[in-house]
């Protein structure tokens, strides 16, 4: 068989999907992807095909998510869940190094790099866009060796969304639902017009090498057309919309807009939006010494701009009110992110909308400010 090359389009039958998984495992990858756990489709390690959410989907809206069965046996018949891929590249808790006492000084023991490469199975267009953003974030001030070590060897297997959730707005953010070039393999699950199958598009030589170990055939001419229809259908089903035109200047130009006070009254400050967001990257570090003071571990853990302590500088928090913290989050995400990293920090995945326990919806907040940008607070002074 002639080896595949970048740009090739091949058809993988559903019945051969186990062989695709086997090719990943045999290729030495730790395969992580969607799996049903705790009443949701989360991301976890896949050890057998049955770990995939076969025949499952979800219903989500602002502040609510429910797992639901599908009427078919689709492997990827759902959208986004509570987890994002950042948990693998930028783990929630990560030991950075260990210090060991040595006489009157100490020596630093670096953290060994993780030897097993990841295969990320089931990245959506918004996830790939988020990955491009975090690549820039962790490469700016100081290159993060842990992130980049894992990222450089990770295999990105994209799956095109077959439908949009009511909380999705990737079309607004220009990140989806079509998957561009930033992937190793791209799968479109085709459930109609023939046997259950996948159109596989090869995005890199690494992806090609994996696919060459799997039985596939050149794509029938109808399959790329069917895949385009999947994208068009998903694009037409976006549940949310955000007009990004002028949002940067709108948010940065109206720090005293009364809407900040309105949303702050509803906001729990619980950090859930930032934890679910695939691009939020705030962290803090902590020392964990032993009781003897001979050894101390330096850990990094996810933190959030919604925490009071997070803005604690020279004696007091500089963002003492919930209002100032929500404003910090949204203006960073949609406005100052452009100045810092050259793009919006939002990819339109809708996770912050679904996983906010009290249904705060950033598209609604932006729309309210767009509708009346020069509104003035009439009662009470802003904190």
């Amino acid at each position: 068989m002639t080896p595949s090359v970048v740009g090739d389009r091949r058809t993988l039958l559903r019945s051969d999907f186990p062989q695709f998984l086997r090719a990943l495992w045999n290729g030495g990858y730790r395969v992580v992807g969607p799996t049903v756990r705790d009443g949701a489709i989360v991301l976890g390690e896949l050890r057998e095909e049955a770990d995939l959410p076969i025949g499952w989907t979800e219903r989500q809206e602002a502040g609510t998510y429910r797992l639901a069965p599908r009427e078919d046996a689709a492997l990827f018949g759902f959208t986004t869940g509570p987890h994002s891929w950042k948990k693998y590249l930028f783990p929630p808790r990560e030991r950075l190094w260990t210090a060991e006492a040595e006489g009157s000084s100490f020596r630093v023991v670096p953290e060994p790099s993780d030897p097993v490469p990841y295969a990320f199975l089931g990245m959506r267009a918004c996830d790939l866009a988020a990955l491009q953003i975090t690549d820039r974030v962790f490469d700016r001030a100081v290159a993060d060796p842990g992130y980049h070590g894992r990222r450089a060897r990770a295999l990105r297997i994209a799956v095109v969304c077959g439908h949009a959730a009511p909380t999705c707005f990737c079309v607004s953010m220009g990140t989806g639902p079509g998957v561009g070039r930033d992937h190793d393999l791209k799968l479109t699950e085709l459930l109609d017009g023939g046997p259950h199958r996948f159109l596989v598009e090869i995005g890199s030589s690494v992806g090609a090498a994996v696919l060459d170990r799997v039985p596939t055939r050149p794509a029938a001419s109808a399959d790329p057309t069917a895949a385009e229809q999947v994208v068009a259908r998903t694009a037409a089903g976006m549940g949310r919309h955000l007009d990004p035109t002028g949002v940067r200047d709108l948010l940065l130009g109206h720090p005293d807009h009364p809407r900040w006070t309105v949303v702050a009254a509803r906001c729990l400050g619980c950090t859930n939006c930032t934890m679910a967001c695939p691009t939020c990257f705030c962290s803090t570090t902590e020392e964990i010494p032993d009781l003897y003071g001979d050894r101390s571990e330096k850990w990094r853990r996810w933190d959030s701009c919604f925490n009071l302590e997070f803005s604690h500088l020279h004696g007091h928090p500089v963002r003492p009110s919930g209002r100032s913290r929500y404003r910090q989050w949204l203006t960073h995400k949609l406005a100052s992110w452009h100045d810092q990293f050259g793009s919006s920090g939002c990819v339109g995945c809708g996770r912050c909308i679904t996983w906010c326990p009290v249904q705060i919806d950033l598209t609604e907040e932006v729309r309210a400010m767009q509708a009346d940008p020069d509104a003035v607070q009439t009662t009470g002074a802003p904190p």
Binding site: T271, N272, I288, N307, V358
Partner: protein
């Protein structure tokens, strides 16, 4: 710590169940290093050999509910270099602070055959309402990792690392799926102080707030959600009136529910 001898540790009990002190003994693997680094001078749960003060570290469990204890905690403070309160009783008054919302005289008459034998205060109050406190560990009971962190911090002369943010952030770091969003299970995680490692949501249970309020809780924003999940006003009131009923933010939440629904 200056001087040749090990710092001297004392553990004190006020109105409480002993569960927080027992967390010390639950530090099984670390117990020998602890005993190596500090002299356990006064700890009735561990040893009947009790040494006199002063003490470098006093761990105080329990709340103040009787007049004698209001005096005793002052003596302990005077003998202690670091005074650390451990657990919900010592930090907010505990479950026994439910008396603060009721008539203690009535309880005495109803519960005891000879109420005149009983001398008690009208309220259960945290230790910090009586004496200055250097650090506090939350929880019912406290978490052993936080106790070790605190002891380590005192031994090395640094500030303890005891985050005061919400249970939600611990839940998400652990990879738990939000029980409020994905199950519609009432949960106090968004307003509750971190430190437990989000144990209850990890087992599909809602947080019941045993660590008390977080650094910046907004219970008023949570109440509409809990109501939408079907909690009746009396259930909501009770939700905030457990182990930290008298913590100011939780007290305000239960009272705001009560005021809205009127007298029982």
């Amino acid at each position: 710590m200056p001087g040749p001898s090990r710092p001297r540790l004392a553990v004190w009990k006020f109105a409480s169940c002993d569960g927080c002190q027992l967390t010390m003994l639950d530090c099984e693997d670390e117990l020998l290093p602890i005993a190596d680094r500090v002299e356990i001078a006064n700890f009735h749960e561990a040893s009947s050999a009790v040494g006199d003060g002063p003490y470098d570290i006093s761990l105080v469990e329990g709340s103040i509910t009787v007049p004698e204890d209001a005096a005793r905690i002052r003596e302990i403070r005077a003998q202690s270099r670091f005074l650390v309160t451990i657990g919900a009783c010592a930090t907010s008054g505990g479950i026994q602070a439910l008396r603060n919302f009721a008539d203690v005289e009535e309880f005495r008459r109803v519960v005891y055959a000879r109420p005149e034998y009983l001398r008690t205060l009208a309220t259960s109050t945290p230790i910090a309402a009586h004496v200055p406190v250097d650090a506090e560990l939350r929880g019912c009971p406290i978490h052993k990792a936080q106790l070790l962190e605190l002891l380590g911090a005192i031994l090395s002369g640094r500030r303890p690392n005891l985050p005061a943010d919400s249970v939600c952030i611990e839940c998400k770091r652990r990879g738990n799926v939000c029980v409020l969003v994905a199950r519609g299970t009432p949960c106090l995680g968004p307003v509750t102080h971190a430190g437990c490692g989000a144990i209850c949501p990890a087992f599909h249970r809602g947080c019941y707030g045993c660590f008390g309020p977080s650094e910046a809780p907004v219970p008023d924003a949570l109440l509409p959600k809990l109501e939408a999940l079907g909690m009746r006003p009396e259930e909501l009131e009770r939700f905030f009136q457990t182990f930290n009923a008298a913590a100011p933010a939780f007290r305000a939440a239960s009272e705001s529910v009560r005021n809205r629904r009127g007298p029982p």
